[in-house]
Amino acid sequence: MSATAVDTRPPAPDDAPGRGSLSAETGRARAWRWLREHAVNVVAILVVIYLLVPIVVIFVFSFNNPAGRYNFTWVGFTLKHWSHPFSDTELTKAMLTSIKLALLATVVSTVIGTMMAIALVRHKFVGRRIANFLIVIPMATPEVVMGASLLSFFLILGTPALGFETLLIAHVMFCISFVVVVVRSRLIGFDRSLEEAAKDLGAGPFTTFRLVTFPLILPGIFGGAMLAFALSIDDFVISNFNSGTTVTFPLYIFGAAQRGIPVEVYVVAMILFFGTVAAMGLVTWQQRRAEKMTAIRPEQEASDIVLPGVA
């Protein structure tokens, strides 16, 4: 908030002409002015707190020691759920199914989505508007409609059985659009002279892609993959329609909500939270490094490139 800190300096002498009885007045006026100038900051901080409160609640309640089967009111502190987070075999199995499903869906949708993004940004072809529309429309469709229509499809076709395979089909389907959007935004901001330089230096199209294009759009691909993973592991609505008897983590929670929620759910949710935060931190750090590498300008000395710290 360095930009606003400047505004907090005391009012100019003209505003505070006297001392004594007047200073209380100016004090109040000053407080009023400070509040008026910083009202939007105060509101923003309150909104940030609002966003974080449920996360804190989940964290706190993962240490709860409830008497009954429900973990909604605070009873007492215990570490027992954190020391055995995977004691519930059903929950652990659901979590592993979710992870396996999310990994597979991420790989498939990232490969397919990246290919689509490259085609859409780099090539002019008949039907590009239709392709763009096809990508936008699943994002503008409520999940319940997507889940229901896919179930209708599987029912009418009489596919063998709903289960892991149908879940994978569904998850890849709703992840593709998001991957395309993320990778496309990275490709749009891409300096094409780098590719031309590679071509001028005698690299073929495949070598150019492998050594120049791919490393440069990698952060975008990574971002798309992360988003796909997050969407897949968290999906409940579409999965609920197409899971058959397969149980994922969100489906387990929904089922458990009717008969009582074990505290381990909160523990696993927190483990997932910290894992994602750590992965995000790592990707951001990697991306910053990559950006530093691409930010090297031609006029820079070779020594600067080798030792970026040397001025």
Binding site: Y50, L134, P142, V144, I233, V237
Partner: protein, 288 residues
Amino acid sequence: MIDAIRRRTPAYLLLAPGTLWLVVFFVIPLYFMAKLSLDTEIPGTLHYRFTWEWSNYKEALELYDTQFGRSFIYAGIATILCLIIAYPLAYVIAFKAGRWRNLMLFAVVAPFFTTYLVRTLAWKTILSNESPITEVLHAIGLAPSGHILYTGFAVIAGITYNFLPFMVLPLYASLERIDVRVLEASKDLYASASSTFWKVTLPLSLPGVVAGTLLTFIPAVGDYVNAEFLGGANNRMIGNVIQSLYLTQSDYSAAAALSFVLMAVIMVVVFIYIRFAGSEALMGEEAV
């Protein structure tokens, strides 16, 4: 000519898998659902026959018109609340946060890292009768009965919280793109802070407002997790109805008809909205 075709081939090859996947598992299922919504069940079996049965639509809408209307009202209120809550935050992140920017952006997406269902369960705790929040709201007269859980208020609160990041992020993206010099120019021309906001900042951030409201409203209308966990029997939304018709009552035709009407109404709302607000926001940037 041959060269042009050769240059174009990889484009179609690159597009093929994704297009195929989306057509087979998104477009064709929608067609199948449309067909199912006009089918009649052959009595005694679980089989259906296509009969142009428009009465499916009539019956479904007559039975579930309250849930339908409620979904749009809840989603509409939640979207407006999201806009009011998100705008100051997006504004501060874009113009005032400085080195706190990344940390604040992290706070915006952090809820996504906790499982959707678990954070909705957390709201069950926050809004329970014993919670201090409920007591405060009761004390100031906002919750006269002394309980919030299992009311429409709780459902709207849950929806507002769960979809807030969808509002903040596009708002932030469009605010961040505004050239600060334009705002300075407005000040230099003696516009007050409030008229700078209403006449310059807000109009320039309109694409973000459009994208944010759509990204919040569309999933909110179809949502049924919040109504399931936080609402009571009188707060069921259309998503709950579609879900139970499909998965427990096996009344596929009625459920398909409802899904279709839901999608059609959303399309109409989105179309009207875009006509008024401009389309750049939804379609995103065109390729170079």
